[in-house]
């Protein structure tokens, strides 16, 4: 049990790095939409 926990802990930095890459990349992709009205969903005014 202790050995398995140790194994999982060894992989945490890698998993953390992958999570950070995906999050920052996703945020960067979203931020590129901000200045482009054609791709941003805006409420229709009636």
């Amino acid at each position: 049990m202790k050995r398995n926990v140790g194994k999982v802990v060894e992989y945490l930095p890698f998993l953390g790095i992958v999570a950070v890459i995906c999050t920052t990349s996703w945020l960067a992709g979203r931020s590129s939409l901000a200045g482009r009205p054609s791709l941003v969903r805006t409420p229709v005014r009636r």
Binding site: E10, I17, C22, G29
Partner: protein
Amino acid sequence: MSQTDVRMDGSAETRADREATPGSAGGRRERLVTHRERADSYYGRPVLNEPTWKDHDIAAYLFLGGLAGASSTLAAAAELTGRPGLARASKVGALGALGGSLYCLIHDLGRPERFLNMLRVFKVTSPMSVGTWILTGYGPQAGAAAATDMTGLFPGLGRAATVGAGLAGTALATYTAALISDTAVPVWHEAYREMPFLFAGSAAASAGGLGMLAAPLAEAAPARRAALLGTAVECVAASRMERRLGPVGEPLRRSRLLRLGEALSLAGALAGVTVARRSRVAAMAAGAALLAGSACTRFGIFHAGMESANDPKYTVQPQRRRLAKKRAERELA
């Protein structure tokens, strides 16, 4: 009493000191070989020392380096074809993956100075030396490409850095295949023909997956195509490698990680060209599957190599085959 017995009291009838026969007192006597050892073993012991590499460092480095390099290439293609969302997401992803791969590499080396010490020489016949220089040349360009895109400063410099990082990225994504094929580990060494294609395909699939996960749907078409092409190349290279290696390829054929990696990559790539074109959630799920599939492939290759290093038959069998081939050629001549 035998003349060869060694005694502590140095009796006159015994041969002591330098004259003594080693191990002749009985306890350390050499054992007679009563049978021939099997041809595929070395007394049941590993012939090679297992590499000291740890999978959470080196397999992670293989994956993150491939992701960084291929993401930069995808970013350059997106920038040149007018897809700023995909370009920005890929540039930021490439910079993050580069940071992660450097962390893994330096963690494996033990001290950061060791990386700097490798820059004291450039040896074209050493994949490790060439790789260090590729990483050093690629890093600043990937950093400049991401920084100029995020800040909007120096657009000309940003475009040049993006193209430069895209070109250097192809080398970064594939040099690791040469690096591991240049070792004595049987599976990696024997697979030198297919390994660069496998790594290139896996890198393209992971970069495509990250693009699908992060970029707007309207701009993600190149990421979907990269993922499909990368997965196809990866699967063909892997199956060809497993067949060509014959008995040495057993650890590859047995690897559950490789099978899982193929399944995830195929599922992600197929979802990418079908449902992920219309649904944001499906695109993110497909992208995550592709990233996980590529990581499983790299870890699977790493573990198969370690397994082959620990079992002497994977070292002895190819040697004996080569010897037999040479002998046959000599006899024919």
